[in-house]
């Protein structure tokens, strides 16, 4: 297995070096723009728009056959033509025929991912047509003969200097093109002539409105307007999922699309066109004739709606949501891994970023999605970014599961099948099963500690782990504790005679076997605040197998965990969770893994530990029972899933109340995200992502105590700064008083 991963590691290293800087700068700019733009409009308003947009998409995809029919009727009534293409070849053939019927020599295009998807340019060029991309980013990529690296910014990976070099080499201009202005002026001139000469203009369509047969185009440059109105023939190409009922439903999307994509309130040009339009055709071959050269050209409009796998996606319960996507790119911008490597690593044949797995799996197949699917760490930072509330990490997990299942069982499997207690079919890669069954490893490691730790850290063991499991030898391994948190708690007498509340502290795998100190601290803190605390005998939440795409195993873990915890909830206990990724399981992923009633009861009965402490203090618990901060400085890194759930403020507030001076990290992610950073081919990427966090905390680390809520964040911070990161609850531990 390790051999097949080497090229990945090399490719990632190369991309980090060659494209990383530009991608980082640009995606972070977009991302920061989105944060600001959402704040400006108001979180509530934004949330309302998202909810409405989601509803419209759910309804439209549900009613898709009917809407396609309605669109066809409307466009035909307007004098245009609709063609529904089954696949890429069908679409390309139709568009080539339209061009041929017009005797076209050249075609101009505005940006359209759908035409990228079907490789339209190649198909038309093979037929002898000249094809020009008029969006400047697309133009750069076309001239460079590369593929787009981002849904919204195709040439995001190129610096101005690289574009200058490219253009000067390819076009040999009279003057040097050594500024963005000159480059833009050159492209404007060059492409302007081609637009004026072209017989056919091809655009995408961000939205198609069934009732009136209209299309909406979102652009900043103005090229889509020209491509749609200057050539006599306009072909608009769109996936069938772009249809919404009418102009009335366009409103929330008009609010959301640019704000999510680039942080603009509205694009420079939001065109609502109902072709054929009344704009006179301009005949540049009769330059001196008034009335736009006679303006008597016959306008012709074709709407090409592309299926190419979409109807099957619509029938697929898990991939269906992908069709709600409005291609804003926010999931890519908010993704820490994407910020480092961009779409040339984190993308497939066409689509890039978080949602690319869904698109590529649906359109191309799981084998294409497999090439980059593991770059999604499931951190969930994209979930709140998506304007239509697509559960992108879930789609990535489902596809990962399907990829695992598609593998042929090998010798490894026969071996592993007998050893691990998972629910996976043979064929699931050995390494995935190792990380997915971390609970078993931890149980064994703990039972044989400290010997297991000593053995695991030897050079031979690390080498073997690297070659067999792809666990990078540069990473420190977790050290297992001989006495688990459960054992420790079982030995202990309750300290609270007349408890205000009763708590079942959830012993997640890490807290139980590795980070027992934070578990003990949590118990003491809760007791000091008047709670009776028990540590129930319950297994892992299923987070580990889930992140390896082992859904069946995760589901059975989820069922066991719920079955063990719910009786406590029913008896009036509150479930308190130390590890945020496990709380996120209860709150988010269990929706998919358990029946609704069970999930809701567990969700309502569970709290993150500092969220719970906050609640206790709010309800009159005595903060003096905890050690005071005395103005001491804390550098706090929340956890990505915790932030998605909106929980980081509780930790900040509690620390603040106790008198700490809190500095919170503002990076998207630590880069470790579960088992990701352990994997050899991703180690360097993981460190690259972590660099931003280290940069922010490094100058503070001498003066401030570094704390992090999540296990993997702690491990990453320990690797980046000097070891010693703690969980915030450890600061609250009464033994420190």
């Amino acid at each position: 297995m390790s051999d097949s991963q080497r090229p990945d590691a090399d490719r990632i290293r190369t991309l980090l070096a060659s494209e990383g800087d530009e991608i980082k700068e640009n995606t972070r700019l977009f991302n920061a723009g989105r944060y600001d733009a959402v704040k400006d409009v108001g979180e509530d308003v934004h949330e309302r728009n998202r909810t409405r947009a989601r509803e419209i998409k759910e309804d439209a995809i549900e009613r898709l056959p009917e809407l396609i029919h309605q669109t066809r009727n409307a466009v035909e009534a307007n004098g245009g033509t609709v063609y529904v293409a089954d696949d890429a070849a069908d679409a390309n053939r139709y568009i080539a025929e339209v061009a041929e019927a017009k005797d076209a020599g050249s075609v101009v295009k505005s940006k359209s991912m759908t035409t990228e998807e079907i490789d339209l340019n190649e198909a038309l060029e093979d037929g002898g047509l000249e094809v020009w991309e008029t969006d400047l980013g697309e133009f750069v990529v076309q001239v460079a003969e590369e593929s787009p690296s981002h849904i919204v910014g195709p040439s995001l990976h190129k610096s101005r200097e690289e574009i200058t070099e490219l253009f000067e080499r390819e076009f040999d201009p009279d003057e040097p093109l050594d500024s963005a202005q000159k480059l833009t002026a050159f492209a404007r001139e060059f492409l302007g002539e081609r637009i004026d000469d072209a017989e056919v203009g091809i655009t995408g369509a961000n939205f198609v409105m069934a009732e009136s047969g209209s299309i909406a185009l979102v652009t900043n440059e103005g090229n889509a307007r020209k491509c749609a109105s200057i050539p006599d023939t306009h072909v608009a190409v769109a996936g069938i999922e772009k249809i919404i009922p009418s102009v009335a439903e366009l409103e929330p999307f008009a609010e959301l699309i640019s704000r999510s994509a680039t942080g603009q309130e509205i694009p420079q040009y939001l065109s609502l066109l109902t072709p054929p339009v009344d704009t006179p055709t301009v005949d540049f071959d009769r330059p001196d004739e008034p009335g736009f050269g006679g303006g008597d050209g016959e306008r012709d409009f074709h709407l090409v709606l592309i299926d190419n796998g979409r109807r099957a996606m619509r029938q697929d319960e898990d991939l269906r949501e992908t069709l709600y996507c409005i291609r804003c790119g926010a999931c890519a911008n908010s993704c820490a891994n994407f910020q480092s490597v961009g779409g040339h690593a984190f993308g497939g044949e066409t689509y890039t970023g978080g949602i690319a797995t869904g698109w590529e799996a649906g359109i191309e197949g799981n084998d294409v999605a497999e090439e980059f699917n593991d770059l999604c760490t499931g951190c969930s930072r994209c979930v709140n970014a998506c304007p239509v509330k697509i559960d992108i990490p879930w789609i990535n997990t489902v596809v990962r599961d399907r990829i695992n299942r598609g593998k042929d069982p090998g010798f490894d499997d026969l071996l592993v099948d007998g050893l691990v207690p998972d629910e996976e079919e043979s064929g699931t890669p050995l390494r995935k099963r190792f990380f997915g069954n971390f609970e078993t490893v931890a149980k064994l490691g703990s039972a044989t500690a400290p010997l297991s730790n000593a053995v695991a850290s030897t050079g031979i063991a690390r080498k073997a782990m690297e070659s067999v499991l792809g666990v990078d030898a540069r990473r420190d391994l977790p050290e297992f504790e001989r006495t688990t948190l459960k054992d420790w708690a079982a030995e202990r007498e309750s300290r609270v005679a007349d408890p205000d509340r009763r708590v079942a502290l959830y012993p997640d795998v890490y807290t139980n076997y590795v980070q027992t100190e934070r578990g003990k601290a949590a118990v003491r803190v809760l007791e000091a605040l008047g709670c009776e605390v028990v540590v129930p005998d319950v297994g892992g939440s299923g987070r580990a197998p889930l992140s390896q795409g082992m859904i069946a195993t995760a589901e059975s873990k989820a069922e066991d965990a719920a079955a063990s915890l719910l009786p406590y909830v029913e008896e009036g206990y509150d479930v308190v969770v130390v590890e945020p990724s496990d709380l996120a399981m209860f709150r988010r992923e269990y929706e998919k893994l358990l029946d609704a009633g069970t999930q809701e009861r567990l969700d309502e009965g569970s709290y993150e530990v500092l969220e719970y402490v906050f609640g206790l203090l709010e309800n009159g618990a005595d903060a003096d029972a905890l050690p005071a901060g005395d103005g001491h400085g804390v550098a706090y890194h929340s956890h990505c899933q915790q932030r998605t759930l909106g929980l980081e403020t509780y930790t900040e507030t509690v620390l603040d109340r106790l008198g700490y001076d809190v500095l919170t990290s503002d990076v998207e992610c630590c880069g470790m995200a579960g088992s990701f950073g352990y994997k050899s081919e991703y180690y360097e990427l993981s460190m690259d992502v972590g660099e931003t966090l280290a940069e922010q905390f490094e100058p503070e680390a001498d003066e401030r105590t570094v704390v992090a809520s999540g296990t993997s964040c702690m491990e990453q911070l320990d690797a980046l700064l000097s070891p010693g990161t703690r969980h915030p609850v450890e600061l609250l531990d009464p033994v420190r008083r």
Binding site: D40, G42, T134, D135, L136, G137, G153, S155, K158, S159, R160, E161, I163, S179, A180, Q181, L183, T184, A187, R188, L191, I195, S212, S214, N220, E221, G222, N223, R225, K226, S229, S246, V247, A248, L250, E251, A254, E265, I266, P267, Q268, Y269, L270, S271, L272, L273, P275, D278, T279, P280, V282, D283, F284, R286, P287, D288, P290, G291, F292, G293
Partner: protein, 175 residues
């Protein structure tokens, strides 16, 4: 849109939004339109006759129904706009037989003439208007906000396939 602004008068808010976009604007009485355009328009200029019964470009320094060569050579293009959005500084330009779409797109300056009473508060109001227009059979508009721009060449540049500068002339309504 934001509450602080809601109370102010739409023309003032519209102009504020325009100035946030670095887009100059002028407010004139109906009978001053010709003179105002003289000031604002750079020649040679082309125009699409205004979509208003009581206002015309007949006296303005623009060529209506231009030839392709005139369109290409024009420094300014003048069109009307039947709807503006105060909170955004957006104008709606209709695709009509008069050629508004190309007149507003080719020259490096786009001058849009709008009536004060046609300014709507925000995008939600604009969509009410759009829905009514669609129902009335007028169904092709571009909502244009500021000049065209791109960041694809390594820095933000204005004026790509569309105008580099926009000037909005707001015509006060007859009292």
């Amino acid at each position: 849109m934001s509450e602080g602004r809601a109370a102010t008068d739409p023309v003032a808010e519209f102009r504020q939004s325009l100035s946030d976009l670095d887009t100059p604007s002028t407010v004139v009485a109906p009978d001053e339109l010709g003179a105002a355009l003289e000031d604002v328009v750079e020649t040679p200029a082309v125009g699409a006759e205004l979509p208003f019964d009581d206002l015309s470009l007949a006296d303005a320094p623009v060529t209506l129904d231009p030839s392709p060569a005139q369109l290409r050579a024009a420094a300014s293009g003048v069109t009307g706009s039947r709807m503006g959005i105060a909170s955004l500084g957006t104008v709606a330009v209709e695709s009509r037989a008069e050629g508004d779409e190309v007149v507003g797109l080719y020259p490096s300056q786009h001058v849009a003439v709008i009536k004060a009473s046609d300014i709507r508060a925000d995008l939600a109001d604009a969509f009410d208007w759009l829905r009514a227009e669609f129902e009335a059979g007028r169904r092709s508009f571009v909502l244009a906000t500021g000049p065209s721009s791109t960041g694809d060449m390594g820095a933000l540049v204005q004026g790509v396939h569309g105008p580099e500068a926009v000037h909005i002339v707001i015509v006060r309504d007859n009292e």
